[in-house]
């Protein structure tokens, strides 16, 4: 293969990786702040895509505009989800959140199946199908949009965590929740907002993913696995790590496609995640060994 084709491949892997990183931010927040792996994460993303679909077909607007409704809606869903479900089961032991988020994943998938049938759906718009030629390279506009959004969302979350009071509380609570309590910071309240923030990011990711790929009610698990891969590759508790982890996942997927064909690229990606879990479970920037 010519050099230019390889570079093109790597470029698109990077752009796709941005999209995956965007998808993974929400999971990273749950994992880093609430210390919960939200198995329903991918399903929430797909939920956002379907919500967007409904709004787009009803109001005939661009999917981006639908985010003005979908994003705040998902924030509220996240807040309530944390408040009434996760906060209730957190004190019950570390297995309960696993079972609960798994059950929720099943519920969301089947609810979407019931409401929207198993037909393939897409949020693709005509302008995303145009062919971009840049220095002889061919970046995919669908991926590029995801990549740019990822950087914007990353910056936004980063600034929020660094500069605002709530953001600082969100960094303090997972470090030492009792000390935070003694300063008057209520962990549950912090978690509620963090969950809202997480699902806000998930909403944006879901819509982007819906614009990039066709989706079905059961597409969720694939995204939670890839997001999980991004979070693990980058290291738990590190937002920057998740960004890098996303790039790793993106490259892994395109590499898998190039080496083994599109039929096996997902399998290759999953195997990569398993290998990372085996050799370096704390990830690149991880905090725990």
């Amino acid at each position: 293969m010519e050099i230019i084709n390889i570079v093109n491949l790597i470029l698109n892997g990077l752009l796709l990786g941005g999209l995956f990183a965007l998808a993974a931010f929400g999971l990273s927040i749950f994992a880093g702040i609430m210390k919960v792996i939200n198995i329903a994460h991918g399903d929430f993303a797909i939920l956002a895509a379907y919500l967007s679909l409904s709004i787009v077909s009803f109001l005939k607007i661009d999917p981006f505009l639908s985010l003005l409704i979908v994003a705040p809606l998902m924030f509220v869903i996240g807040y309530l989800f944390q408040k009434f479900i996760i906060n209730r089961v957190l004190p019950m032991g570390s297995d309960q959140p696993v079972l609960v988020t798994f059950a929720l994943s099943i519920v969301i998938q089947n609810l979407l199946l019931l409401l929207f049938t198993a037909d393939a759906r897409s949020l693709i718009t005509p302008y995303l199908l145009i062919n971009i030629q840049l220095f002889g390279l061919n970046p995919s506009p669908r991926y590029a949009i995801g990549f740019i959004s990822a950087l914007i969302v990353f910056a936004a979350i980063f600034i929020f965590l660094k500069k605002t009071y709530l953001g600082k509380a969100m960094r303090a609570v997972p470090f030492d929740s009792e000390a935070a309590k003694m300063l008057g910071i209520k962990s549950e309240a912090v978690y509620n907002f963090a969950a809202g923030l997480a699902l806000l990011a998930v909403a944006i990711a879901g819509v982007m993913l819906g614009m990039a790929f066709t989706f079905y009610p059961d597409t969720g698990p694939m995204y939670v696995l890839l997001s999980f891969g991004a979070v693990v590759a980058g290291g738990l508790g590190s937002l920057k790590g998740t960004l890098v982890g996303g790039f790793i996942m993106g490259e892994a997927l395109v590499l898998g496609g190039y080496l083994f064909g599109s039929r096996f690229q997902l399998m290759f990606c999953y195997l990569v995640i398993l290998v990372i879990l085996y050799i370096r479970p704390q990830g690149l920037f991880g905090e725990r060994g």
Binding site: R171, G184, K186
Partner: protein, 235 residues
């Protein structure tokens, strides 16, 4: 200012404090002495609202606080510097200080509080962008105390401020404690090793196995045989 009346505190079914009463008047420094496991930290946690007594009451400036939430208690003017400092090592000095003002109304006027605290602890001003986890023990204790002061409390609980610190640093810490009293903050000093605490306080209470066994003016306690044997060990 602070009245603890006959409180009984439980961890689940296990009783840890039995009929504990103590009093701190405005402007005083009061010592609470006791060995490991006597219940000192439990008492601190109960005052600040982390735990609630099953029976008995706690009054602060006349108001009953034993059923209030921690943020409400902090807003009334109580703050705690926890045992072991419990700083947020992943955050900077300045961020730790800012979080100290989280629950109080000070949040809006945080620059005043920061200035006050930086005046008391110039070294913290120097290191304000340093990660709290990378500082020495003495500096961390300064930061912990400073963080407790950020909510401009009227009443400050210091749980074992000299723990794990070199003697020279302990002297510095007590210098600061005296300074804080001058800034009109009433102090409850909790220590395992009684020497410095009693020397720097007006009166003291000794807690043993969850019960107050001795109390009185600090001068008297320093001379008390039981206290000398159990809590003044090697001078």
């Amino acid at each position: 200012m602070l009245e603890v009346n006959g409180i009984n505190v439980f961890y689940g079914d296990l009783q840890v404090l039995w009929d504990v009463s103590l009093e701190v008047n405005k402007g005083e420094i009061v010592s609470l002495i006791g060995s490991n496991g006597a219940g000192k930290t439990t008492l601190c946690k109960t005052i600040v609202g982390l735990l609630h007594p099953k029976t008995g009451s706690i009054k602060f400036m006349g108001k009953q606080i034993d059923k209030l939430s921690i943020p409400d208690i902090i807003k009334l003017g109580i703050a705690i510097v926890p045992e072991g400092r419990r700083l947020f090592g992943n955050m900077t000095v300045r961020e730790n200080l800012e979080l100290g003002a989280y629950a109080s109304k000070i949040r809006k006027n945080i620059d005043d509080a920061l200035e006050w605290v930086f005046n008391l602890f110039p070294i913290l001003k120097e290191r304000q962008n340093q990660l709290a986890g990378s500082m020495s023990g003495g500096e961390q204790q300064m930061l912990a105390i400073a963080r407790g002061l950020m909510s401009k409390p009227k009443f400050l609980i210091l749980d074992e401020p000299s723990l794990g610190l070199a003697p020279k640093i302990v002297l510095k810490v007590y210098e600061i404690i005296r300074k804080i009293r001058d800034e009109e903050v009433t102090i409850l000093l909790v220590e395992q090793y009684a020497g410095h605490a009693l020397e720097n306080s007006d009166k003291g209470f000794v807690l043993e196995n969850g019960r107050i066994v001795i109390q009185g003016p600090s001068e008297k306690l320093l001379k008390d045989e039981r206290v000398r044997k159990a809590y003044l060990g090697e001078e």
